[in-house]
């Protein structure tokens, strides 16, 4: 009998602990609890491990059509980038050269980012208008154009987190700054050894916008 009472008491105490914390935590009683439907509509991000990838699928073959219709007018038929719009394809082996070309293929470390960004921000000015399948199709097409997957590979919510991008090892963390020589707040003040020859002038480059003359 006593044992039962003891057990019950312990049970009640255990039950009480989380309630106690919750009561403490909600300090101001402001805002409202978000519903699952509200969250589903806004929680559109997709993580490198695939978390957040919505149900859907698409291949490069289908993606070519969507790309031609929705993307090519700015990014070019082959992802080469028109005017100053970004290049999406190529650039391999260019990152350590004088003129690096940073594309989804040569630079982007995760395919998830392509899905996330294209769905949330593209086509430019018509954000979040592609269907999930169309988005998978376009991502598949770009991965195919960058020779990362075959044209009949079906990209979907299960495998987008497993695509290995060529430059996934190309990023360094953590931030090593401050990375300059530490002079402990006491830099040279007089007769310092520093070059003072003029080797370049912005005026000579001549790309500074000029004011309109009225």
């Amino acid at each position: 009998m006593f044992a039962l009472v003891k057990k019950t008491l312990i049970f009640l105490v255990l039950l009480a602990i989380p309630n106690f914390i919750i009561a403490e935590e909600r300090k101001f009683n402001l805002g409202k609890i978000a519903t699952k439907t509200e969250i589903a509509g806004w929680d559109i991000d997709v993580r490198p491990d695939g978390l957040g990838a919505p149900l859907g699928s698409g291949s490069a073959i289908k993606g070519e059509e969507v790309y031609a219709e929705q993307c090519a007018s700015c990014h070019g038929d082959f992802g080469e980038g028109l005017d100053r719009w970004p290049e999406l394809v190529g650039g391999e082996d260019s990152l350590d050269t004088h003129d690096p070309v940073k594309t989804t293929g040569s630079y982007w470390p995760y395919a998830s980012t392509m899905y996330d960004y294209i769905y949330r921000a593209m086509p430019f000015g018509v954000a979040q208008s592609l269907t999930h399948d169309e988005t998978y199709q376009v991502v598949a097409y770009l991965l195919y154009m960058n020779e990362i997957i075959d044209e009949d590979f079906v990209l979907n919510d299960k495998n987008i987190g497993k695509i290995k991008m060529p430059n996934v090892e190309g990023f360094l963390m953590p931030d090593p700054r401050p990375d300059i020589a530490n002079v402990n707040g006491n830099p040279c003040m007089q007769n310092c050894d520093t070059p003072t020859k003029i080797i370049g002038k912005a005026r000579d480059i001549d790309v500074t916008p000029e004011e309109e003359k009225s």
């Binding site: 806004w42 190309g170 360094l172």
Partner: protein, 424 residues
């Protein structure tokens, strides 16, 4: 006689206005900037603005700058970007005094244009690894404990065009992706008292509701340290182009993280690796590897006058002026050189000097028509010394784009004009 005098003054006023228009253009060419004076307004004459009544109250219910300050505006570099909706312009820091940037002059950086949001329709969602996933209205946010703080906001790409050499001949174009205002808002450490936080929450995804759906991952330590959601700047509601009705404030860290039109904070156990922290805002090194998550804005300073837009017009005494800031804390000291970095003198730092805020410095100097190579060098409270471009290039090459906090050189020519030059 009286009548004639008045008529003459009126005529002169028209002439003056016409003169001002062309003066505007002249001043903008970074030459002179000397107003054409009207002798009728000078002693011993009675100026026209004394002889006539001025405009009454409410002529401008929201006051605007003087018509003679029309050249003090944000400017962009058209060739930099494909469209103005995904572009940047620059604060005219060469024309500003003190440390407060007027709201209408704060530089703009948009990725999908300026969202116009009715505050009644504003919602902030908090989801992920919290005890309670919640939604807040703007009125809800304003009922939390309030905080008021001055912070600078600098784009990580400020000076990005200058890595390879001096390219843009302007203080505005090379240093103007920075502004400094007083924010009013709620600290995130207060906001999460309402949602609770699960122990596994290590990262926060901040998401904007603009057409680019701007997103960045921020470590939880920073979120709980000093981040805030602001709804006001310099005493009034945020400007639309600065994220009205609410934006994230991430003191001392790169401006891209200060998500405007903030709609959602998601708490997670790993970074989200958004486009803005992988494809962009990563710093490419000469070996082809890139630094990632380089958030802090290192100490930096610039001489705003003399500068390419601010020629020296007179011989004799002048007050050199400039701005300094550091994402790691307070500015401790600013040195100025007039001979390209061979000899330095310490400038006067003006109160208030606040952590992660612009600081103003001045230094009197004599100019007698000689060439000068003007530089400034900031030192912050961590004893970090602003580097030369050569020090940065040695470590990071010339293709980093971001985080160029090096010392600039303005060459004062014998005629008083000023050039952005590179020494080597």
């Amino acid at each position: 006689m009286e009548k004639n005098k008045k008529k003459k003054i009126k005529l002169n006023r028209r002439e003056l206005l016409a003169g001002t228009a062309s003066l505007g253009a002249l001043a903008l060419t970074s030459k002179a900037g000397i107003a054409e004076t009207n002798p009728n307004n000078l002693p011993p004459n009675v100026p026209e603005w004394t002889a006539e009544l001025g405009a009454g109250v409410d002529a401008n219910p929201y006051g605007m700058p003087s018509e003679f300050e029309k050249n003090v505006i944000r400017r962009n570099v058209e060739w930099l970007t494909a469209s103005t909706e995904s572009s940047v312009n620059f604060t005219p820091i060469q024309d500003l005094e003190g440390i407060v940037t007027p709201n209408g002059l704060c530089f703009e950086r948009h990725h999908g244009g300026v969202s116009i949001i009715n505050p009644k329709d504003y919602r902030l969602m908090i989801n992920g690894l919290v005890d309670r996933e919640m939604i807040f209205t703007l009125d809800d946010l304003k009922r939390f404990p309030q905080t008021n703080k001055f912070y600078f906001l600098e784009c990580a790409a400020n000076g990005g065009m200058e890595w390879k050499g001096s390219q843009l001949n302007g203080c505005q174009y090379t240093f103007g992706m920075v502004h400094n205002v007083q924010y009013t808002g709620v600290k995130l450490s207060d906001l999460i008292l309402e949602t609770g936080l699960k122990p596994k929450a290590k990262w926060v995804l901040a998401e904007g509701s603009d057409s680019s759906g701007m997103t960045r991952s921020i470590p939880i330590e920073k979120i709980l340290d000093d981040c805030m959601i602001a709804w006001a700047m310099n005493g009034e509601a945020l400007r639309s182009e600065q994220g009205y009705p609410a934006r994230l404030v991430v003191p001392g860290w790169e401006g891209n993280m200060w998500v405007k039109w903030l709609r959602r904070l998601e708490f997670g156990d790993m970074p989200y690796m958004t486009r803005e922290e992988t494809s962009k805002y990563t710093d490419l090194l000469p070996d082809g590897k890139a630094r990632m998550f380089t958030w802090v804005m290192d100490a930096k300073s610039v001489v705003t006058s003399p500068s390419p837009e601010k020629s020296i017009l007179y011989k004799g005494i002048h007050q050199l002026r400039g701005l300094a800031w550091s994402g790691r804390g307070k500015i401790k000291r600013v040195d100025v050189s007039l001979d390209g970095g061979k000899n330095w003198q310490t400038a006067k730092l003006h109160d208030p000097v606040m952590s992660k805020s612009l600081a103003r410095f001045t230094l009197p100097f004599e100019w007698n028509g000689q060439e000068l190579l003007v530089q400034s060098r900031a030192i912050d409270e961590t004893n970090y010394v602003q580097p030369t471009i050569h020090e940065l290039q040695k470590l990071r090459g010339v293709n980093s784009i971001y985080h160029n906090n090096s010392i600039a050189t303005w060459k004062v020519n014998k005629d008083g004009t000023v050039d952005n030059v590179r020494l080597g």
